[in-house]
């Protein structure tokens, strides 16, 4: 029963809420649709947290995505041991970067009074979830070796079965508890995503690269000659003089 809840009900609920609430929040409360930057209050420690964290997590998530999209190719790539080692080490490096980053971010947030002043409960929930998730991920990479291969063979079929609405728990049933917690953690993060500062992922300003430097906005129609609506008033004003 708990398997049904955790591996089928939770993911569908999390993704549904993710989409519905993200869109609702964008429409209704666009003001809050970003991360609350605290660099202004504390900058130096943030550098050692934010930069490794973001590079690490982007690298790690990209690895998960590639494995999900191309499991067969990943397995083929890993068939040569040297290539397997390279992939595993790359993944581990990203994971460790994310771990170092999130640990220093947590430490910074808890130990800097000014940062504590701008910390919400949701920030703490997100930090705890991410910290646990990264710890579980790195633990898995270290102690359940060749994850890049068995991920493609066990977790990916389960994830794909979710996408095709034919959930199949068979391939993940034998996985160790650490990995199962990692899977549940991922869905919990998706669940809190739209309620937290994580929505800043949806506002990556990529269009900045091709927009012109200057932005001018007209509150009136430039094609329409001003004054034509009020020309009568101008006449009145002149007569009044």
């Amino acid at each position: 029963m708990h398997e049904y809840l955790l591996y089928i009900f939770l993911p569908y609920m999390a993704v549904t809420i993710l989409f519905v609430v993200s869109i609702y929040r964008f429409v209704k409360d666009r003001f809050s649709y970003s991360s609350l930057s605290s660099q202004f209050l504390e900058s130096d420690e943030l550098f050692y947290g934010s930069v490794p964290w973001h590079i690490g997590i982007i690298g790690a998530l990209t690895g998960h995505l590639i494995g999900f999209l191309f499991p067969a190719q990943v397995l083929w790539f890993n068939s040569v041991p040297v290539r397997l080692y390279i992939l595993e080490i790359t993944g581990l490096v990203f994971g460790l970067m994310a771990l170092v980053g999130i640990v220093s971010l947590v430490w910074r947030r808890l130990n800097t009074p000014k940062i504590w002043a701008v910390t919400s409960i949701m920030d703490l929930v997100v930090l705890f979830l991410l910290l646990a998730q990264i710890f579980l991920g790195v633990y898995t990479a270290l102690f359940y070796r060749w994850g890049s291969s068995w991920y493609a063979a066990s977790a990916v079929p389960y994830l794909r079965s979710l996408f095709t609405f034919q959930p199949d728990l068979a391939t993940i049933a034998p996985l160790p508890i650490v990995v199962k917690l990692h899977i549940v953690g991922a869905f919990l993060i998706l669940l809190v995503f739209p309620f937290s500062r994580l929505v800043h992922m949806f506002s990556i300003p990529i269009s900045y690269l091709w927009r012109p430097f200057q932005i001018v906005k007209w509150n009136w129609d430039r094609k329409t000659i001003r004054g034509q609506y009020t020309r009568g008033n101008t006449e009145i004003a002149k007569n009044a003089k």
Binding site: S32, V51, H54, K114, V118, Q214, T224, R226
Partner: protein, 497 residues
Amino acid sequence: MDVRLQTSMVFHLDKCIGCHTCSIACKNIWTDRKGAEYMWWNNVETKPGTGYPTAWEDQSKYKGGWEENGGNPSLKMGSKNSRLLNIFHNPDLPKLDDYYEPWTYEYEKLFDAPEGSDQPTARPISMITGKHMEVEAGPNWDDDLSGSPVYAANDPNLDSLTEEQRQELFDIERLVFFYLPRICNHCLNPSCVAACPSGAIYKRGEDGIVLINQDKCRAWRMCVTACPYKKTFYNWSTGKSEKCILCFPRLETGQAPACFHSCVGRIRYLGGLLYDADKLPSSVQVPDGQLVDAHRDIILDPKDPKVREAARKNGIDDRTLEAVERSPVYKYVMEWKLALPLHPEFRTLPMLFYVPPMLPVMAKATEGVYDTANDELFSPIEKARLPIEYMASLFSAGNVDHVTLSLKKQYAVRLFKRLETVGDVDEKVVQFAMNECNMTAEEAETIYRLTSLPTMDERVVIPPMHREEALQMLNDNMWEEKGSAGLGKRQLPVRGN
């Protein structure tokens, strides 16, 4: 010719008494909020001095403004690509300590303290953490202390002086300072707009006011770095950047901005300027020494029939043109060439101009005696206690000619009026001073009148904004809008997460 209107300003520094009334008027209306306590959209600095935030003019530290790269201007903070690569941590973001940590006092302790042998005290507490703090800096920490080797010595503009000139400046008998009030310059080539990854900052086409869309701002904080005047601020509580809005709600209803309205010295002038947007790109690509000329070159004469025709084609109303004709800013900047932009070398084309101060007109120390009875009555510009190079570093990117002309004209006006009202100066001296800057008696009189005796209506000539027409232009059925008045947000600007 693409004629546009810019609401522009002139601050007459010779009239500024440094009372900070403008700052307080602005603070009380706009930045008396959580997260904005440390912001001073309007502030008054003592010069020489480091200002607010500390040493803001030093772009080797703050990386604000534009750089001229052989005809290809780029942001000093780096290319678009490099900005996005630094998005996880902006290495050039000014920190709270570059401004100051806002504080208040535990006033209630003065009443609540139990009876004892000591006087109760109100200790300072941080307005960010709510904890006790040591006050180490404030918004105007070096007020009136300028010329001192402690603070003023760090003024970046002093680099333009020789070692000897600098030493002289710090002699206690020669201490000298003037005030520099600053607000957002509402630039024609704003680097804050150019740096915003979200595209949240924009210039209003019809009046040139630069604003930040609070719903689009995503807290990337690039504008704070990009503005060389450090007039965009990061609200640490709402996670949005904020800046001077030139009191547009007041302007739209025909009232002067709060800082203009409250100015005790009546140093502030506001009026429209017409400019040619087609000429913008080329005007920021000239060498430093020519920047002031290039800046004046894009400003158009509102009396020129061709300009008026082009303005009408761009939808500028006749009554707006009428107001621009009466613009005091046009007189100071274009006709009299008295007013100059602040740090034009940042290449943002600031539209707030300053009349450089003629200080101090009298008095010098001779053999330790402070002598106010100068034989020349008003000491000539050449003998100015604050070297002309210093003024040129502030107001004309190092070009001494512009500052000299402006000061000589003010000097001539002063002599002219002295002759007329008191009559104790030699007529030949006055004539010589006026000839030197090609000034007629008529011009001297008008400069005098607009400088010394202007009414509120002469100082502040607001071009009509016609917001009511804008509504009609953008909505086919304006009756739908009737009765649905109301401004602003439906939600408080407060973030939960």
